[in-house]
């Protein structure tokens, strides 16, 4: 039974379709594994009974030949996606009592495709963090080495996939929150083009950067999952009214690749193992026939400061609704309206969230707006232009996902050092481009990831390249 949970999504779909095993079997196997590995703290909620019931319905559909594309596949959602009548906490005390009266588009789409929701995964509070340590529900442990961080903010989703606690998991990425934990846990994580997946019902951190995506065992699985999650949604004005290509076909199609390498950035990698591994990955792809081109991204070094103005600025407004008035945590010690606001927010938010609200509020204040926010927007445009230039001659761009492998829980206390975790992942968010992280090597006995950034709406291309790499290597296999 425990072998079922190790199968790839592709094989699970095959096995369910030809009735080699049932959804009931596979669902129960995952539920057992979740219980067994409770100490990893991957899940905030588990819907045990409901999952079992839904598995029976899925099996019926399969028998009646009415199976939908993901019929009976047990998955997990990051606890940032609202699900009707379910607790949706966003990893925060503020929402520890919030039962959503409506569902996110991401949940609805996968639910309609037949997937079974096992539960909701742990995350950094309001998706702000790179180690999963800011969660009100305690940090997730890295399944490969429990002393280490699974990364963040989608640490619960990445660890759950790695520990075989779901077939695949949804996640979100504002500055690297899918790719960095995927890199730390040795799994595949893709953040599609901004606007590819609807943000309706996905709790906002920084609206212009937030994008939902997938963490899966490999690129092929990610392609299938992404296919059923993507598409235009009129409830989200920033959602793109563009045709969703069949990623499942594209991932296996015969494609030629021209890979751009930002030479300066690679030369400046401080960690030798990370740099060597990166160069090794590129030569594997080159040997396989990919063309390699040097490119220039002259403004990429300003990504981090620009991001840490824009993201907190948007977050300071997005989190203003948590005021203790209509939902969420309300302080008991209240004697005035100001008390209600101040005490509810002081008690309901953790330290990192408060830090970012402060930074954002400051950056938008009268007299500072031009110096910070406006300047950051200008940098963002320059970075976009850099990518546009590069994509004139290459079909994807490669760089490491992170400058290091996973670190020990509790070892980084300086917020700026923590922010530097996102140095290679942020540019794709600022430019709104699709990017994938795939396991590509080992540093300090832990996995590290190769990041492939695609052109606007060209998820198929990076999925194809990632799949190619995974055919040539075995870093993505769980050992």
């Amino acid at each position: 039974m425990s072998e079922l949970i190790k199968l790839s999504l592709t094989d699970q779909i095959l096995g369910l379709t030809d009735k080699s095993f049932s959804s009931k079997e596979i669902t129960e196997a995952y539920l057992n594994e979740i219980k067994k590995k409770k100490s990893l703290n991957c899940y905030i909620s588990v819907f045990e009974e409901e999952s079992k019931e839904n598995a029976l319905i899925a099996d019926e559909n399969i028998i009646k030949n009415k199976a939908r594309p993901l019929e009976g596949i047990p998955i997990a959602h990051k606890d940032i996606f609202c699900i009707k009548d379910k607790k949706t906490t966003c990893g925060s005390k503020m929402l520890s009592n919030f039962i959503s009266p409506y569902s996110s588009e991401v949940f609805s789409k996968l639910d309609n495709a037949g997937a079974i929701t096992l539960g909701k995964t742990n995350m950094d509070e309001f998706a702000m963090g790179s180690s999963n340590e800011t969660s009100f529900y305690g940090n997730v442990l890295n399944p490969i080495n429990e002393k280490l961080s699974p990364g963040g903010s989608s640490g619960g989703s990445a660890a759950a996939v790695r520990a075989n606690l779901c077939s695949f998991a949804t996640a979100t990425d504002t500055g690297g929150s899918i790719r960095q934990p995927a890199s730390f846990c040795g799994v595949t994580g893709i953040k599609p083009t901004y606007g590819r997946v609807s943000r309706w019902g996905m709790i906002a951190f920084a609206s212009s950067l937030d994008q939902a995506g997938i963490i899966a065992k490999n690129a092929k699985d990610a392609a299938i999952a992404l296919k059923y999650m993507s598409g235009f949604d009129q409830k989200d004005s920033t959602s793109l009214n563009e045709e969703v290509k069949d990623f499942q076909k594209e991932v296996d199609a015969k494609q030629d690749h021209v890979i751009g390498i930002p030479k300066e950035l690679i030369e400046n990698i401080k960690n030798d193992q990370v740099r060597d591994s990166f160069n090794n990955s590129i030569s594997i792809l080159e040997k396989d026939g990919a063309k390699i081109e040097e490119i220039n991204l002259p403004h990429i070094e300003y990504s981090l400061p620009a991001y840490y103005v824009i993201a907190p600025a948007e977050c300071s407004a997005n989190l203003a609704r948590y005021d203790g008035i209509r939902f969420g945590h309300r302080s008991d010690s209240v004697s005035s309206l100001e008390d209600l606001y101040v005490n509810s927010r002081t008690e309901g938010f953790g330290r990192e969230v408060k830090n970012r609200i402060f930074i954002g509020t400051f950056c938008l204040s009268a007299g500072y707006y031009d110096a910070f926010y406006n300047k950051a927007l200008k940098i963002r445009n320059l970075i976009k232009n850099d990518f546009d230039e590069a994509f004139k001659k290459v079909s994807s761009i490669a760089m490491p996902t992170c400058s290091n492998s996973s670190f020990e829980l509790g070892s980084i206390s300086d917020p700026v050092e923590m922010y530097e975790q996102d140095i290679y992942t942020i540019p794709a968010n600022l430019a709104g481009l699709p990017a994938i992280s795939i396991p590509s090597g080992i540093a300090n006995e832990m996995p590290i990831g190769l990041q492939l950034i695609g052109n606007y709406l060209d998820e198929g291309r990076i999925l194809n390249l990632a799949n190619k790499f995974q055919k040539l290597t075995d870093f993505h296999e769980f050992k």
């Binding site: 609206s207 407004a317 938008l364």
Partner: protein
């Protein structure tokens, strides 16, 4: 102290609630007077994860207003977040516009007796309304009704071109008539469909610089706008003449005490930390779209008034009165559709009908008397079936009892007596009773003619035809 030494400078910010079917960013309906919180969905409540979707009808309403006042129209409409905390503001920010308001510079002509004056409009922008806080419903608790939260407002900002309370009222009336003629608002001040803030300062006539201004907030009737401005001008003059300075501040008008009171000064003023709304993409407005709106613009009061004067021969004053609002104008034209004299029709409407509306404290929409009623009354007078005084009586009967004109004339015995014999008999009676006066009339005291006609009318309760009475009297005198 002489107010002649001071010149008031007034600018108005008028909030017009647009008559859209649904709210500015959600599909909740808009209706005044619904049960609290029954017209607020997850978007209006500002739940985690919700996103705004712009209501296109609001854009088209705003464009109509812009075209009607010959304003510049922005090619790109950008929304911005205006951040502040208040319990009836669910998201902790209001979606409004800062740069690129949909309507730019335009102008509105107001009438001041015989003269007219052009008032500059700086801008008009779209924004969502807040909910309502109710503080007097429960002891120790406040209540919040979010039915109004998210309804569409057009904020129309004038240049400081107004120089008296009278001008301010004329300007407001003009806006009221424009928006009602365009059908973009019901303009009902008592239901909050038009609200007004006034910026007031005074200066010496020769000063080039404006004086320090105060802002009078949220005044909700024409009468109070007038009173608040008059009080504030007077207060500022007194302060200045006593050697004091005007403090730049927000003041609230207390209609019960008829005075303005300080609410907050500039130093305590909010920093709204505006920034572009990342959940909405900029809306492009094409030249075609603008031309289309311009082409289909309904007839505006100014033009309609001229048409009424030209084709119906109405006086300036009467034309002004029947074009004061859309409802009166269409009532007037409905009466004319029964082929009655426009000049007579306008007298009935602006005279007797307006008097009845005033007496019953209502407006023409609620009139118990229909255009058909008025037209038939006029026709009956012209056909000499009823007399003028009977007609007035008939109008009041229609108002209180309703019914068909022809039936009422018979039922109430209002038919005009035009039978010469019958009238002659009564006239003889009158002459007999007033022999002395008759002799005087005979000897040339012409003004007594009216006395005799009046007496006959009195005896017949107004149902005799004055024309016939006059004719018979003349016959008798010439005998």
């Amino acid at each position: 102290m002489s107010s002649n030494n001071w010149q008031p400078v007034i600018g108005l910010e008028v909030h017009v609630q647009l008559a859209t079917k649904t709210k500015l960013f959600s599909s909740s309906p808009i209706a005044f007077g619904a049960e609290p919180n029954t017209q607020a969905n997850e978007i209006d409540l500002g739940l985690p994860g919700v996103l705004p979707v712009l209501n296109k009808e609001a854009i088209s309403h705003a464009l109509k207003f812009g075209c009607a006042i010959n304003a510049e129209i922005s090619e790109k409409v950008i929304f911005a977040r205006k951040n502040y905390f208040y319990p009836d503001l669910p998201k902790g920010y209001q979606i409004s516009q800062l740069d690129d308001p949909i309507v730019g510079k335009g102008s509105i002509k107001i009438k001041l007796g015989e003269k007219s004056k052009i008032i500059g409009v700086t801008r008009a922008h779209l924004e969502e309304d807040a909910g309502k806080s109710i503080h007097d419903l429960y002891s120790n608790n406040s209540a919040i009704d979010l039915n109004r939260a998210g309804t569409c407002l057009l904020e129309i900002v004038s240049e400081p071109d107004l120089s008296s309370a009278e001008e301010a009222i004329e300007y407001l009336k003009k806006i009221h008539s424009i928006v009602t003629f365009l059908g973009i608002s019901d303009g009902d001040m008592s239901q909050g469909s038009m609200r007004c803030d006034a910026n007031v300062s005074v200066k010496k006539p020769n000063d080039h610089e404006l004086g320090t201004r105060t802002e009078l907030k949220n005044i909700n009737s024409f009468k109070f706008v007038e009173k608040a401005i008059i009080f504030e001008i007077d207060r500022q003059i007194k302060e200045l003449e006593n050697g004091k300075e005007i403090i730049q501040e927000t003041r609230l008008y207390d209609s019960k005490k008829n005075l303005t009171q300080s609410m907050r000064s500039k130093e305590e003023a909010n920093d709204y930390r505006y920034f572009p709304e990342p959940d909405l993409i900029p809306i492009k407005i094409s030249k075609d779209q603008i031309n289309n709106v311009r082409k289909n613009l309904p007839e505006l009061p100014e033009i309609m008034k001229e048409r009424f004067m030209k084709s119906y021969g109405l006086s300036n004053e009467n034309a002004e009165l029947v074009t004061a609002n859309k409802e009166t104008a269409s009532f007037f034209e409905d009466v004319l559709s029964y082929k009655v004299s426009p000049k007579i029709a306008v007298n009935w409407i602006t005279g007797d009908l307006f008097a009845l509306l005033n007496k019953n404290d209502t407006n023409i929409l609620e009139s118990e008397v229909s255009p058909k009623h008025i037209a038939e009354i006029i026709q009956n007078i012209e056909d000499q079936k009823i007399s003028g005084p009977s007609a007035k009586k008939l109008l009041e009967i229609v108002w209180s009892k309703g019914g068909e004109i022809q039936e009422l004339i018979q039922k109430e015995g209002l038919e005009q007596i035009s039978n010469d014999d019958e009238i002659e008999k009564i006239l003889d009676e009158v002459i007999f009773e007033n022999q002395k006066q008759f002799e005087q009339l005979k000897s040339g005291k012409d003004r007594l003619q009216g006395f005799f006609v009046g007496q006959v009318m009195k005896k017949t309760s107004g149902s005799a035809s004055p024309k016939v009475v006059n004719k018979l009297l003349k016959d008798k005198l010439s005998k």
